[in-house]
């Protein structure tokens, strides 16, 4: 695995790695990829692509409300709150929509 790929993956995961750590994780990730690559030896010519590992489909729940957490419980794991909101460092831009 190229060191530039490791750097990109780390940055996408918001991990600040030293040059030494990049090399260490690069070696480990390469090992994992090589191991998974063994699957390439399997003949999948006549196998339908699977989007899911278990043969289960159409699992639904009814549109019923259940109790939510108390606000204090909901906020209890947050590093900082004002008792009502999660507090985070200032955000400079706003996104809209679902992305």
């Amino acid at each position: 695995m190229e060191i530039s790929d490791v750097r990109k993956v780390a940055s996408l995961a918001r991990l600040a790695l030293t040059e030494e750590e990049l090399l260490t994780y690069g070696r480990q990730l390469t090992g994992i990829l090589d191991y998974v690559r063994l699957l390439d030896e399997v003949d999948t010519q006549n196998t339908e692509p699977m989007p899911h590992a278990i043969a289960l489909q159409n699992v639904f729940r009814d549109d019923q409300r259940t109790n939510s957490l108390d606000v204090a419980d909901a906020l209890s794991n947050a590093p900082r709150t004002d008792g009502q909101y999660f507090l985070v460092p200032q955000i400079l831009e706003e996104r809209s929509g679902g992305k």
Binding site: K8, S11, L12, R14, P51, H52, A53, I54, L56, Q57, N58, V59, F60, R61, D62, D63, Q64, R65, T66, N67, S68, L69, V71, A74, L75, N77, R80, D82, Q84, Y85, F86, L87, V88, P89, Q90, I91, L92, E93, E94, R95, S96, G97, G98, K99
Partner: protein, 501 residues
Amino acid sequence: MSSLSYTVIIGLEVHTQLRTRSKLFCGCSTDFRPDAPNSQTCPVCLGLPGALPVMNRKAFELSVRTALALNCRIAEFTKWDRKQYYYPDLPKAYQISQYDLPFSSGGWLEIAADDPGEPVRRIRITRAHLEEDAGKNIHDETGRGGDSMVDLNRTGTPLLEIVSEPDLRSAAEARRYLEEMRTLLLFIGVSDCNMQEGSLRCDANVNLHIHHADGSKTATPIVELKNMNSFRNVELAIEYEVKRQASQWQKTGQKIGDVPKQTRGWDAERGVTFAQREKEESSDYRYFPDPDLVPVVLTVQQIEDARKQLPETPAVRRDRFQNQLGLTAYDAAVIIDQGPEMTQYFEHTAQLCGDGKTAANWVTQDILRDLNAAGTPVSEFPVTAEILGTLLNWIREGRLTTKSARDVYSVLKEQAASGQSIAVGDIEVIVRERKLETVRDTGALQAAIAAAIAAKPEAAADVKSGKHAAAGPLIGMIMKQVAGADPKAVRELLLKTLADS
């Protein structure tokens, strides 16, 4: 600067919150509660470790209903994927969305053309997919670098994303598409489409095709416009952006592909779009199938059953109002564009009255005027469809003139305004008290006409000699004598009597 010839190219992404009681993957309430932040969350929508999402059946059904109403193909196999990015309103650091196998694709929505004389425009829908909403970030407005606050009540609310092809050609067309989309969503009952509360949102992709003298065209870079929270703002933002891109082209000559796709926000106060800070790697979402959820498989039969249960769309209803009830295209549109409640009011009125045109005249004129003046929704209007329909039926049966019916309507409104409750039975009471019923007893009318002719012989002679304007005072006299007489009938009978004399 030489004048520039170009075509405007617009595609819209509409996000609409589906009308479910609970969230997409958990049982938390979907109510809009900005006054009680973080009171509607649980381990699933907070993204706590070990929590498992389970799909809300109603949300999926409403999604399929919408896609069918948009003439989309429904996939027999669909799945959900994780779209990964970091943002404070997204506690799991991924959004459950649909990537390569959305549940629907390839539909269309028809809208009126800019020129009403032109045929309707069919705007193609690329796809509609079901995803979860994010929470809400509230920014420090003081500019002193304070904290941002995060409310996760909205996190996990079912959201339908409807993506159009870049088929829209003007800001006005984009607005009409959105308005038609909203009307459709309201009529099929899938969303309340409240733009203030964020249950209908819109992003626009806008660019220009510049026309050159030799007939060739150049596409300018695509800009994604965000933060437009009203129909008017969508139209204004696109209008501004079109002008900005035209002048940008003349300054820089940048083509599509020369610069990365830009995201711009709309500043409604200043009336301008502004560049938003690009996030690094923002487009690297690394989608993969969500292992916590299982696919949904539909049979052709299930899809056809859903199609059969589809409520009447606004487009079909507009046609029906014209073909079956005899309304003009204009009146049908005016009524339906008011939404399902007004349309229901009209249909009930028309049914009781027995005459669609009369009902449409009253609803589009008197009722709409009074509703606008009072600022109340039709559901709170004291003159119910039952009362109005009955009143109009009296006109149709010849028991009241249109003028007398207006008097009854005014009295009913006055009574309601003074705090009395009004009902259908009040029509009869008012008509009786004020002697408004049309006199069909021609004997009484004949006597009154004879009396009037005797009292004003000169006027009668004038009318007989052809000066029909002289009939006014005579008719006035007769009407005073026989309250509730139809002035038109009185006039006819008077002229006939004089002609025969």
